[in-house]
Symmetry: C2
Subunit: 224 residues, 2 copies
C-alpha cells in the first residue's frame, strides 16, 4: 500500500491470531529494516527474534507479564551496539570501494572521527545507539504492516533482567521490544477509535521554538 | 508508492534543488509524523523547522558547517521532551473518553506509572525521549519521500551550542537533525551505488543472541 496509507492505518496491536508468519515474510520485513539510515551508516542494530514458547515466556517474565509477548508470533528485542567502532572499518571500506570517499587518508580521518565518538561516556553512547536502532524499529513496524503483520512497540521491561535472562553480552543496549503477528479479523486495537495525537500546529515550530504551554490531542482523521 | 518501494528507494540526500516545499506539503508530511507510536502515547516530540537563511546559517554554525543545512528547503531540529509527565494527563483523558481504560482509578494508576518514569535520572529520561522522537524522525523521512521530498538525517552537531543558539528551554533533548528538500534531477546521492548493509542473517538472531564476530556489508539489491 502507499506509505501514507501504511502510516495512517498502522495501529499498535496487542492481539494476534494463530496464523504463523512464514520465514520468507520475516526475511522480507528485515530486508527492509536493514535499509534504515544510520549515522555514518554504522548500523548498530541487532534483533533478537523470539518465536518459541520457552523464550517468549522468559521475555514476558522480564516485561511486566505483558500478555502480547507470548501471544505474538515473534517477539523482537531491538538491541543497540554501544560501540560506534564495531563495524566502522568494513563500512568505510565499502565507501572507498564505491567512491564515496577518494582515498585511504579520508578513510583514516573518518575512522578517527568514529573513534572519538567511541570515547564518549557510556551514557552518550547509549543515546547514540538508541537513535539509529529506534529508526530501524520504526522501519520494522512499517515493513511488517505492509505485509499485513501487526506490531506493538513496548518499552515497559526490566532491562537488567532481560540482559541477564538472555545472556546479552556487555555493550548492547536493549532499546525496545516489538511484538509481531497477524491480527485477528476483529482486532479491537484496529477497530477502536484511534488515540488522539498532538496536532501539527502544536508540535511543529517554524524558525523559533516556543513550546505550547498546554496540551491538546485530537483524533486523527486522515485515512491515507 | 508502496511502502516497500518507499523504503527501497529512499536515500540520504545532501543536494537539493531550489524548488520550494509548499506549506500544504509540509503539513501533510507532519500529519503523518504525528501518527508515530510512542510509549503510553505520550508523544514527547517537537520539531523546530528552519526555512529562513538566517536561522539555517545559525544551525549550520553549530552543525560542523555542513553545507546541506543551508541548501535544504527546511532543516528540522528533532527535539525530545525529557519529561514523561508533560502531556500525560491530557493523553489519559483521551484514553478514558475512548474507553481504552474503564475509569478514573485506572487513569490515576497510569499517571502514577508515568510519574515514576519522570523520577528516573536525567540520563535515562534522555534515552526515553530519544526512543520515541527517533521513531517520529523515521516517519518524517518516509512521509517526506512519499511526497517526493528527499531527506538527510544528521547527528553531527554541537548539542550545547544548538540549545544556546536557539534558546531551547531546559528539558528538551536535541535528538537529531533532518534536512528536507526536493532533490535535483541528477542527484549523486540517488544515482550512486547504494552503500552496503549488514545482511539480515548477521543482524537477526533467532531465540538466542550471539553477535557475529565479523562484519559483512552487502549492496542491497531489493528494489521494491
Amino acid at each position: 500500500m502507499e506509505f501514507t496509507e501504511t502510516a495512517a492505518t498502522r495501529r499498535s496491536v496487542h492481539q494476534y491470531s494463530d496464523e504463523e508468519i512464514s520465514q520468507s515474510t520475516l526475511d522480507a520485513i528485515f530486508e527492509h529494516v536493514t535499509l534504515t539510515p544510520s549515522g555514518y551508516n554504522l548500523q548498530p542494530w541487532e534483533f533478537l527474534a523470539l518465536r518459541e514458547e520457552e523464550t517468549q515466556t522468559a521475555l514476558k517474565a522480564v516485561a511486566n507479564g505483558q500478555e502480547h509477548v507470548t501471544a505474538a508470533d515473534t517477539a523482537v528485542v531491538v538491541l543497540g551496539n554501544t560501540d560506534p567502532m564495531a563495524h566502522a572499518e568494513v563500512v568505510f571500506d565499502d565507501w572507498l570501494a564505491k567512491d564515496y570517499i577518494p582515498n585511504q587518508d579520508v578513510r583514516s580521518a573518518l575512522l578517527e572521527n568514529v573513534e572519538s565518538m567511541a570515547n564518549v561516556p557510556e551514557a552518550e553512547r547509549r543515546i547514540w545507539t538508541t537513535r539509529s536502532s529506534s529508526l530501524a524499529a520504526m522501519t520494522l513496524m512499517y515493513a511488517a504492516w505492509e505485509q499485513g503483520v501487526a506490531s506493538c512497540p513496548m518499552e515497559g521491561f526490566d532491562s537488567d533482567a532481560l540482559v541477564e535472562t538472555f545472556d546479552i553480552p556487555d555493550g548492547y543496549e536493549p532499546v525496545m521490544l516489538v511484538t509481531l503477528g497477524y491480527p485477528p479479523a476483529d482486532a479491537a486495537d484496529i477497530e477502536n477509535e484511534r488515540k488522539g495525537r498532538r496536532p501539527v500546529e502544536e508540535v511543529v515550530h517554524y524558525e523559533a521554538f516556543e513550546p505550547s504551554e498546554t496540551t491538546r490531542v485530537e483524533t486523527p482523521d486522515i485515512t491515507e
